[in-house]
Subunit: 194 residues, 2 copies
């Protein structure tokens, strides 16, 4: 994937050089999300980046925007894996299962991302929206294919399945005995026709 827009010497919309620089620095500093979770204090990220609070808010009006920017390419990779899996797997349902596994892996390896994705009152609306925008269509295609192949029953909206899977992944880090994968597997089993 290309690095954030500008290659060579064409600044996209006339952003100033220092602004572009700071945006990159902020994205790099957002790596604290990896270890401290997406709830890491804004001040900390600003300090990590060596910029002031004003700067961070100007570039990313909500924490959600920063999180989206930071994880965007991973979400995109997950979205792109959908069609590939559908083409290569033994059956549409197998593809769906593999894709959901990918999604679950993504969520459980990011502290608190699943929780943040629910967006209920936490100001993570942009994150929620981005996940839905990118992944629901992919999920829909996989579901449709599986329905068409007679492997699962129709009637489950993709956004509902996504939401459910996301919800099941919440709190994995707070309880090492809890493994969302087993429950997600049960959920998918419940979809099967028969």
């Amino acid at each position: 994937m290309p690095t954030a827009g500008q290659s060579g010497k064409t600044p996209p919309r006339g952003k100033r050089a220092d602004a572009q620089r700071n945006e990159q620095v902020l994205l790099a500093a957002a790596a604290v999300f990896v270890n401290s979770g997406v709830d890491a204090p804004i001040r900390r990220i600003a300090a990590e980046a060596g910029v002031g609070m004003g700067t961070i808010y100007r570039h990313f009006p909500t924490r959600s925007d920063l999180v989206v920017a930071f994880y965007r390419h991973q979400v995109d990779a997950c979205a792109q894996a959908g069609p590939t899996l559908l083409a290569e797997a033994d059956s549409p349902f197998a593809a769906l299962r593999a894709w959901v596994d990918l999604f679950v892996d993504f969520l459980v390896t990011k502290h608190g991302l699943a929780k943040a994705m629910q967006s209920d009152g936490g100001g993570f609306d942009a994150l929620h929206a981005y996940f839905l925008d990118r992944l629901v269509p992919v999920c829909a295609r996989l579901l449709d294919a599986a329905v068409e192949a007679g492997e699962i029953e129709p009637g489950t909206p993709p956004q509902e399945l996504m939401r459910g899977v996301g919800n099941l992944c919440i709190g994995r880090n707070s309880d090492p005995d809890y493994d969302p994968r087993r429950l997600v597997a049960l959920l998918l089993r419940g979809l099967r026709a028969g």
Copy 2:
């Protein structure tokens, strides 16, 4: 410094009258949980009750304790419904399904309770513990009965199922289109032997 020597001041088992009164007043004020969710500011509950912050923290060291005290009888009712349903339903699996429905109803009608129950970092540990203490044994008995009747596959720990169901109920209020019941039904379907 207390002059320790007095004749037997009996340290009474019972609390002082004003303390008992305030505890009742606080429990009544905790009704703000119903409309404002379990995240309602402590200050607000204190104000509602007409007491100071110190009082509320003395009676309920964590917000979790207050929530537990407020919803305790409803949780107990849910726990007690387990054996009843098992005795009256057509089959153990039907009883399990009915009981889970009861649990889901309880969770979705309390703003944010499901989220709080996850206890990941929110200081809701006592709430989490109480739910588990009271409901996991009930769930275990229902699961065992259904396994014994050959209706579901063995291998799902009750605490995992509880957690999964609880997780699926998160955020129902933030998205009216999301209905956890359908997904919970799928999950239970996934348990079935066959």
